[in-house]
Amino acid sequence: MLEQIFSVTFLTGFLAATLRIMTPILIAALGEMVTERAGILNLGIEGIMIIGAFTGFTGAYFSGSLWIGFLCGGAAGALLGLAMGVLSVRFKANQIVAGLGLWILCQGLASFLNRRIYGLVDVRPSVDLLPAISIPGLSRLPILGETLFSQNVVVYATLLAVPLFVFMFKRTSWGLNIDAVGEQPHAADAAGLDVGRLRYLAVTFGGLMAGLGGAYLALALFGLYTDDLSTGLGWMAIAVVVFGKWRPWWIVGGAFIFGAANALQYRLQAMDFPLPYQFTLMIPYVVTLIIVIAFGRGQKGPSALAAPYERSDF
């Protein structure tokens, strides 16, 4: 078994699988990070991802362009994010309930629309997958080159976006304002910021990212839509945000670990690993748990997370 693990095909395959599994989680998690840093907890992103997958697929299917597909997925996600914003800012909803409600609603909506539009079919309509782009030179590097440098453009874009997020929170007023609003909305308000508006923007952006993450599933991984395309990726994204201490690179790390644990799990099973399969399936969750216990202690997150802001609380 050990030789198997250290073989080149194993490693490249393992890495490629890790990247595949982590990318949609990472996209959604980066969006959720922004949302949460503004003080809104959006538990509905699993649902938004499902809608993103559906609208993304549908957009691409009818237009013939994957990019229009992504656009549709992102737009639908943003719209749902905005809805979550209306609930939590305008109506001061309890965000946990609102998020759960959104999740249920989106599941229903996606599956409803899916049946309305495509009917009960023998064979799912499909679109061509987003092609991989090999980066000349780098992709020829031995062992890792092929995995790391022949991915589709969304993978590259996501990874390139990470330093942008870092930059945004460190060097721009957007990031500063978002942090202030999530940490101390009273202080932000007193400093003249429009707490509600910033939260709308953040949660809408988070929705957009979740929608893109969902579209990625449909357009870059499977080329089709089913109601069960995302089985818990949105929830993992939420866990990864906490796990990643609300910081971009840590979130990449969290998504990577989860992706890797998953990739490993499939491979162990195929190697006849002497455990009932239910236990190998547990590996990603157990690993996440152990790592949080070991390294993720004392993470509190934005102080005002999930708390509706009310001026009269002065």
């Binding site: 957007w174 304002n177 940490e183 101390q184 202080a187 007193a190 400093a191």
Partner: protein, 506 residues
């Protein structure tokens, strides 16, 4: 605009919170270049009035004029645009961010959305130089002492080019030295053409710095007077509605102090920042005496009190209460040894969403007669609460309102009522009169003396030198985590204390 023109005038402002009338038909004007004192007991409506001016509350009725123009101030954003700045009673800062980030928060700049910290820093230094307000721009807020946070709050306002600056009890948390410094700064503002509203409970301060004063009582304006035409006695009478004593006699040092109740030996404690905050402190407090800890805020008093009450682990040394060694014990265990604790911030002692009844039982609910076998006796809790509210003169519509609806002073009275009524043998009081109006302050000081007379040992941490001097039997001065000296009250004078506080050994 001539000298006497009003830059701000509030006209017939009314504001209700549910049944509470916070402001009733209040009219108030601020002239260009004046320092206008706003006085009143706790809960008189001072903060509410200024929050309305700053756009944080909307008045139920009334008008606001800024520079003779009628204005709607819908949010702080609008207020800032009109040149109004406010230093809040509770600091409005983001603790996780740096000083500079807090200062530039919400301000547009030319390179939007990119932050231009170098330029902001330049300007900050300029302002700091002009007004003598120095703070490390890169320090994170949570690492700062209250005095520094106060300065940041002012810097924030100045950075926004204000014409009108509202200071809501800015001196409540400052030492006399810091207060003096602040006054210089405020006078500097006026010289630069600003107008200032200054809220305080300290009549000496009002007398020394303001040009005019307005007194509020129960939400009504009682009077507006040029400062020169009034006196402390008159202001006190206007505020409270009766005559007030100003000096509380410590009384005679009757019987000598009794057994040692608190014995602290070589205590060392680390701060949140990981730096040593208390560095080998030893002292004792005996039954029937008040021991004061004086010192500029941020010299380890906070950490000392936390260590004594079990809220923070000590790294070395021992603490004994009576005969029990409570080093490293839990707060619960320490309180059970007969210790009362008034923390420096009442938000750390009260639960806003709980009723007064529940808050007053917070530390005794688990024992008879308030509960038996884990079941609460609500009736007993209510009876006891009513009694305490009456005895300690907590102003509240009834005992079932939520604590968060009380004014600051009344919250403080709640804490004191709870912590002293249990009849502890040791009371650890951190800034017990901070933010209190003179009536309440008088009451609480008298109470401490009475408790001492009953044989309680009291450790009093305060930044108010007059309070220390008038109450304490012995005074310890703390500076950079050490006790610089111990002075019996009879021998203490302000000058000597000041020197010790500045770290110069006598």
């Amino acid at each position: 605009m001539n000298e006497n023109a009003a830059i701000i005038s509030l006209d017939g402002i009314c504001k209700k919170f549910g049944p509470v009338v916070a402001n009733h038909d209040v009219s108030f004007d601020l002239r260009v270049g004046e320092i206008h004192g706003l006085l009143g007991e706790n809960g008189a409506g001072k903060t509410t009035l200024m929050n309305i001016l700053y756009g944080l509350h909307q008045p139920d009725s009334g008008h606001i004029h800024v520079g003779q123009q009628p204005r709607q101030i819908g949010s702080p954003h609008d207020a800032i645009a009109l040149g109004i700045g406010m230093v809040h009673q509770h600091f409005m800062q983001v603790p996780t961010l740096s000083v500079i980030d807090n200062v530039i928060l919400g301000l547009p700049n030319e390179r939007e959305p990119f932050l231009d910290r170098p330029r902001a820093r330049e300007r900050l230094e300029q302002i700091a130089a002009t007004y003598g307000l120095h703070v490390d721009p890169d320090a994170l807020i949570w690492q700062l002492s209250v005095g520094d946070r106060q300065r940041v709050e002012i810097l924030k306002a100045l950075f926004r080019d204000v014409r009108v600056l509202i200071l809501d009890e800015p001196t409540a948390v400052l030492t006399p030295q810091e207060t003096e410094e602040l006054f210089k700064i405020i006078r500097g503002f006026v010289d630069h053409g600003l107008s200032v509203v200054f809220i305080t409970h300290k009549l000496e301060e009002a007398m020394s710095i303001t040009d005019r004063v307005t007194v509020l009582r129960d939400g009504h304006v009682v009077a507006t007077r040029p400062t020169a035409d009034t006196s402390m006695a008159e202001l006190a009478r206007l505020m409270v509605g009766r005559d007030v004593l100003f000096r509380i006699a410590n009384g005679d040092q009757r019987q000598p102090a009794g057994d040692t109740v608190l014995q602290v030996s070589d205590l060392r404690v680390t701060s949140d920042r990981g730096t040593p905050a208390v560095q080998g402190v030893s002292f004792q407090v005996r039954a029937g005496e008040i021991v004061g800890i004086a010192g500029v805020d941020g010299n380890g008093q906070t950490e000392l009190v936390q260590a004594l009450t079990g809220l923070r682990r000590s790294v070395n040394g021992s603490i004994r209460v009576g005969t029990a060694d409570v080093t490293g014990a839990s707060p619960q265990h320490i309180l059970q040894q007969g210790v009362g604790h008034i923390p420096e911030d009442f938000d750390d002692a009260l639960i806003g969403e709980f009723t007064l009844v529940e808050n007053l039982a917070l530390d005794v609910h688990y024992a008879p007669p308030f509960s038996r076998r884990g079941v609460l006796n609500r009736e007993q809790m209510r009876r006891s609460a009513r009694e305490l509210i009456r005895r300690y003169d907590v102003r509240a519509p009834h005992e079932n309102v939520k604590a968060k609806t009380l004014s600051g002073g009344n919250k403080q009275k709640m804490v004191i009522a709870r912590e002293t009524s249990r009849g502890p043998k040791l009371l650890i009081a951190a800034h017990p009169t901070r933010g209190l109006d003179i009536g309440a302050e008088e009451y609480i000081r008298g109470l401490m003396l009475q408790l001492r007379a009953e044989g309680m040992a009291i450790l009093l941490v305060s930044a108010k030198l007059d309070e220390i001097l008038s109450l304490c039997d012995r005074i310890l001065v703390m500076e950079r985590g050490r006790i610089m000296g111990e002075i019996p009250r009879a021998e203490a004078d302000i000058e000597q204390l000041g020197l010790l506080m500045a770290g110069i050994e006598a």
